[in-house]
């Protein structure tokens, strides 16, 4: 009996010291999540009410577009870009006016920020999410004339249809250009209130001229919410290529 007890104590004692575990083999692979897998029914059931509520919100009709509003670039403009810059200005200006008692001069956004077109027909809540999935906020920068010149130089130099609002008339001829803002010739000694979003203001898309402005006002207004508010406000959603930017060789 004593012998057995000793034997047992030895065994148990040995079990308590950490066994020497050694990693002898590793295998690694990638598994596809596709139609070969059946969905987990409980998870599917759990998602369903969330999906349905979201669908109801997203499919809500807000207005009608008689034509496609697209990113296709014509004279460094696009119908979707013009729509976006103008509606941002229209929705943001009253907010800014309330805060600062003055008007925004114009709006510049980036073409890369528009992630989807709006097809003609019924425009729904989901369209605003498709066009603008990001949580960008509208900000107003007070810029010196020199910085606004940098802005125009950038626009002319990059040759991209970055959305710019209709208060601007930019006539590009070769590498040269003339600009008007609010119907008046651009004044390099002036200051301007330019509407953009926080992503661009902090240097996104290489728009460095927005950094360190004379004054920065965050409107606490998501760019997508501005679009949604506009879609709710209008019955007919439309935009066209106009003379805000002209390009002659």
């Amino acid at each position: 009996m004593k012998k057995l007890l000793l034997y047992l104590l030895l065994l148990v004692g040995f079990a308590c010291s950490k066994p020497n575990q050694q990693l002898t083999k590793i295998t690694g692979k990638r598994l596809s999540i596709d139609t070969t897998l059946a969905s987990d029914a409980a998870i599917e059931e759990y998602i369903t009410p969330f999906r349905e509520e979201l669908q109801n919100v997203m499919k809500k009709p807000l207005c009608t577009a008689p034509v496609d509003l697209i990113k296709t670039e014509v004279n460094l403009q696009s119908t979707l870009g013009n729509l976006f810059a103008d509606l941002s200005y229209e929705m943001a200006n009253p907010v800014f006016q309330k805060l600062k008692n003055t008007n925004i001069d114009f709006c510049l956004m980036n073409s890369g920020g528009l992630r989807a077109n709006i097809s003609k027909g019924t425009v729904r809540t989901e369209n605003a999410f498709f066009v603008m999935p990001f949580e960008n906020e509208l900000v107003v920068t007070k810029l010196s004339g020199a910085k606004v010149k940098e802005l125009f130089d950038y626009f002319v130099d990059r040759r991209r249809a970055h959305p710019i609002s209709k208060q601007v008339e930019l006539n590009i001829s070769g590498d040269d250009y003339t600009a008007k803002i609010g119907g008046k010739p651009f004044d390099i000694n002036g200051t301007y209130y330019v509407l953009t979003n926080d992503y661009l203001q902090t240097g996104g898309s290489g728009m460095t001229f927005f950094a360190n402005p004379i004054e920065l006002t965050n409107l606490d207004y998501l760019a997508r919410d501005a679009m949604l508010d506009y879609l709710k406000k209008v019955d007919v959603l439309t935009a066209k290529i106009d003379n805000r930017v002209t390009v002659t060789p």
């Binding site: 007890l5 066994p19 020497n20 295998t27 690694g28 998870i43 979201l54 949580e135």
Partner: protein, 305 residues
């Protein structure tokens, strides 16, 4: 230790026989232990599968399918861990509308064990992330974000240690530099610390103090940056450190067909893996442990693909 005292205090013949029987089985079979690690990254709120008309990912992905696959693997091996390398948020209206609630709830249902934090997880601000924490029944790790003076303070650990089948697994997290990537007003006072220094510190702790059998790094640093090769990345981290068995990465949406084998600073092979994004794939790594009487190190066979 408790068991030893128990036996000493006992002494009755009947009890001894019972305990003896249990002891003997444990010793006669030197069983192989098997830990499975499953992982995702950059799921970006992709809850439903892609539709049939999607240009690149038609009919791929979907959380309910992922759940079925995970369950199937757990049935094969109950000693399975499920990890995520960040950017759980942002990418579908589910995030815009529910703010990440459903993402966390589903990951909890799928029994994720540990996740790290990606830059997009700050998209509703650090307060927006904090607000969703009650829905997450899994842990967040980040060793190089210092959340002092933020709402996330005390809600994120540098590392977690999980024990499965007697195997001690240390899991630590690394996040990407937020400055220039995330608006300061979103990450607030979060401080970014040097990933290599932190890793040297943490791996020493996990290996020497905690005696972990397996060390996993959940990283949102990005796989590798070809244009800025010196920038910290998973491949650079792997080469500059030791004692990590696998870096599970994210951020760069890198679709690795199989894990990359990298030699660490101590000239030992280890793995770096990343499974793209949007829940299109699940990474699976199986670790097999054998018991030996002596401490001489045995060779580890690595099979990938």
């Amino acid at each position: 230790m408790k068991r030893r005292t128990f036996v000493k205090q006992l002494g009755g013949a009947a009890s001894l026989a019972m305990l003896g029987g249990a002891g003997l089985t444990a010793f006669t079979e030197k069983k192989q232990r098997h830990i499975t690690i499953l992982h995702t990254n950059d799921t970006h709120s992709h809850i439903d599968p892609f539709g049939p008309d999607h240009r690149r990912n038609a009919n791929k992905g979907g959380v309910a399918r992922r759940a079925a696959l995970i369950q199937q693997i757990r049935n094969e091996n109950p000693n399975t861990l499920l990890l995520d390398a960040g950017d759980i948020f942002q990418g579908t209206p589910y995030f815009n509308y529910y703010g990440g609630e459903l993402e966390f709830k589903l990951m909890s249902k799928l029994q994720y064990d540990v996740a790290t934090i990606g830059n997009h997880d700050f998209d509703n601000g650090i307060d927006g992330l904090y607000k969703q924490l009650p829905h997450a029944k899994f842990d967040f790790v980040s060793a190089n974000y210092d959340f002092t003076n933020t709402v996330m303070d005390t809600h994120v650990d540098p590392y977690k240690i999980l024990v499965r089948d007697g195997i001690k697994i240390g899991i630590f997290g690394l996040g990407i530099e937020l400055e220039g990537l995330v608006n300061k007003k979103h990450y607030k006072e979060t401080k970014y610390l040097d990933p290599i220094e932190i890793t040297q510190d943490i791996t020493r702790k996990l290996k020497e103090e905690e005696q972990c059998d397996l060390i996993v790094c959940l990283s949102h640093l990005g796989y590798y940056y070809r244009r800025t090769p010196d920038l910290i990345s998973d491949l650079n981290l792997a080469k500059a450190t030791k004692d990590i068995d696998i870096i599970i990465g994210g951020h760069t949406h890198t679709f690795l067909p199989k894990p990359t084998i990298v030699k660490n600073v101590a000239d030992q092979n280890m793995l770096v893996n990343q499974v793209g994004c949007y829940g299109l794939y699940l990474g699976r790594i199986d670790f097999y442990f054998d018991e030996f009487n002596n401490k001489t190190s045995k060779k580890t066979t690595i099979l990938v693909g």
